[in-house]
């Protein structure tokens, strides 16, 4: 295989779960919620996807069950952070830690006595006729699992929902100024809850992607911090659904480059390449690529009057 094609295909593969999770986080953050439970929702999505696919024998039902597991975790976060009016950072961290413990517990029950863990049927790459014949870009972009095509389709959909519908306007208004939105008749707590749960569904699909389109098995803590990387991607993508897709691709490329360099035996410490994506995020935050502005109400605890 052409090494460039191989590298690009790896970048897209690695970027796909990051794109799903970051797209969900954009929705939550635009509504004013910084959701650190995305890592936990992803992990729940991975386990839900694995168990769902094993139980039903259908990987697609696994994706659905993974999405529901992600939604359940994010609903728990919404309950504590939005309805319980606790600090969002602390609530998100706690829910993620709880998910790490819970998924480990359930997995050990499910895989007890097995020497192989869960053996899950994976979703094979599907080449798109015509497009996959384009030189270089074709086989890299258009010979991927269907979950990759779906996230490419989901990004413009999320953009349309956020920026072209009344629902999106109300959601973003709540994220900028909860008081003003409430004065205009928006139920801020409700829109934030819906946004967080949508984010959880997408994070669940992100986790299911790891299991059902990549590894074919579950491992405890297998998300390995991807949820937190997704939050950095949202910053790098400037809280925009399409920007986030580009940023996820950049993270995927940096990671793929790291594996390619190690395989080639280059005498550069691999930690250097692991660092690259985070440097990108820092550069984005310093404003080199233009002014970055987070939603004004991001992470702010709602006053009792805000939600009515």
């Amino acid at each position: 295989m052409d090494p460039i094609v191989g590298f690009l295909a790896a970048a897209i593969r690695i970027g796909t779960p990051l794109a799903w999770a970051a797209l969900g986080e954009v929705v939550a953050e635009r509504a004013g919620v910084i959701n650190l439970s995305v890592e936990g929702a992803m992990l729940a999505g991975a386990l839900g996807g694995a168990l769902g696919a094993v139980a039903t024998g259908d990987p697609w039902l696994g994706v659905v069950i993974g999405a529901l597991a992600g939604a359940a975790i994010s609903a728990a976060f919404a309950l504590v952070a939005i309805w319980g009016r606790t600090d969002q950072i602390i609530a998100g961290t706690a829910v993620t830690l709880a998910s790490v413990g819970l998924t480990g517990l359930i997995y050990r029950q499910a895989a007890a006595g097995s020497t192989t863990g869960l053996d899950v049927q994976t979703l094979e790459p599907v080449a798109i006729p015509g497009l996959s014949a384009i030189p270089v870009v074709g086989p890299a972009l258009f010979d991927q699992p269907v979950l990759t095509y779906l996230v490419m389709a989901a990004a413009p959909l999320v953009w349309w929902l956020l920026f072209r519908t009344t629902w999106g306007l109300r959601l973003r208004a709540g994220g900028e100024s909860a008081e003003a939105a409430r004065a205009a008749g928006v139920d801020v707590r409700l829109t934030q809850t819906v946004a967080v749960v949508i984010g959880g569904v997408l994070a669940g699909v992100a986790g299911a992607t790891l299991v059902l389109a990549q590894v074919g098995s579950f491992a405890e803590r297998m998300t390995a911090g991807r949820g937190f990387i997704a939050i950095a991607i949202v910053v790098l993508g400037r809280w925009h659904p399409l920007g986030v897709m580009v940023a996820a691709g950049a993270f995927g490329a940096a990671t793929a480059l790291q594996f390619a360099f190690q395989a080639l035996g280059l005498e550069v410490p691999y930690q250097f390449f692991l660092m690259l994506p985070y440097l990108l995020a820092l550069v984005a935050l310093t404003g080199v690529v233009g002014r970055v502005r987070a939603p004004a109400g991001l992470g702010r605890r709602l006053e009792p009057a805000d939600g009515g």
Binding site: T115, V215, A219, M222, F259, L264, Y270
Partner: protein, 324 residues
């Protein structure tokens, strides 16, 4: 708001109840504890240690306890807690427990702390040294002889000294059969990220690697998946018999019989014959072994060469990793 406050109160009471569940047992007879640096559901390094602990419990009829501790701080705290509770024997399962164990033994000299893959003796701290390079050497011989492309690959979790030594044994074994073998290696910086394990393997497969070995615990699940997806790519299992992970793509595994080693040490400590020393295990005692997968046959003369090398290593005439 009133109703939801009360609800949170109940959650707090429930959480406190769960937290207290395990405590307050009076100290009893001989007690053994195990601290693993990762999940005991990894079908390899940590699972083997847990099986060893269960074997100790069943064979010696003693009380056992297990904890998972992933960070240096948590590992030291877990060691200290068991020692303070008067456990007679504590296994710190990995090289990373050496320094915490040395600090804890000064405070609690009665507890024997055994560091699996440790470095040196200090106080009542004794290392179990597994000469895994003896097993990986035999796996490497197979890989060197069987590789059609002349390229072999190794995926490691973190570049710890025992893991590096296992890798060196693997390469030396392969070079014994094919001196011009091209060896590639990648470290993931994690033992959990199975997706990274798959990508590291795929990056090497793109360069023509067709024989793999690993020491990456859970993350290696992705490596087995990459082999299953790619034609003519094979894996050699590590630390446990991993043939089941890809039944027609595993020639064999370089295993550590952790339960056997753990039970041997526990017997000595319980019997009062234990003296802190470097407990070294290799092919000779059967703790390190190369086991082939009966479903994937290899030529009998290759089997014979590997068996001959095994005998030479046991006899001490062949060094898998010559001292540098």
């Amino acid at each position: 708001m009133r109703r939801s406050r009360r609800w949170f109160g109940w959650v707090g009471i429930l959480a406190a109840g769960v937290g207290c569940g395990g405590g307050a047992k009076p100290p009893a007879g001989f007690r053994v504890a195990l601290i693993t640096p990762g999940s005991i559901a990894d079908a390899a390094w940590n699972a083997g240690a847990y099986a060893g602990l269960q074997w100790i419990k069943d064979s010696l009829g003693v009380e056992v306890s297990h904890q998972e501790a992933r960070t240096p701080g948590a590992q030291e705290e877990a060691l200290r807690t068991y020692a303070a509770q008067g456990y007679d024997l504590v296994f710190g399962h990995g090289f990373e427990f050496q320094q915490p164990a040395e600090r804890v033994t000064g405070e609690h000299p009665k507890t024997v702390i055994v560091v699996t893959s440790g470095e040196r003796v200090q106080g009542n701290v004794a290392p179990l040294v597994f000469r895994i390079e003896e097993g990986t050497f035999l796996a490497g011989m197979m890989a060197g002889a069987l590789s059609k492309t002349g390229k072999i690959g190794f995926v490691g979790g973190i570049e710890l000294p025992p893991i590096k030594k296992g890798y060196e044994g693997w390469v030396n074994g392969a070079r014994r059969m094919n001196p011009s073998i091209d060896s590639k290696v990648a470290y993931l910086n994690t033992f959990d990220d199975a997706s990274a394990g798959r990508e590291a393997a795929l990056a090497m497969i793109r360069l023509g690697v067709d024989m793999f070995h690993h020491n990456a615990d859970e993350a290696a699940k992705g490596l087995f998946q990459a082999a299953k997806e790619s034609p003519n790519v094979f894996v050699f299992g590590a630390n446990a018999d991993q043939s089941e992970l890809a039944p027609d793509r595993v020639y064999g595994s370089a295993i550590i019989d952790l339960p056997r080693a753990f039970l041997a040490v526990a017997r000595e400590v319980k019997g009062g014959t234990f003296v802190p020393k470097v407990e070294s295990f290799g092919l000779a005692g059967g703790v390190i072994r190369y086991v082939s997968n009966p479903r994937v046959a290899v030529a009998p003369d290759l089997e014979a060469k590997v068996t001959a090398a095994r005998d030479s290593i046991v006899a001490g005439t062949l060094l898998p990793v010559p001292p540098s």
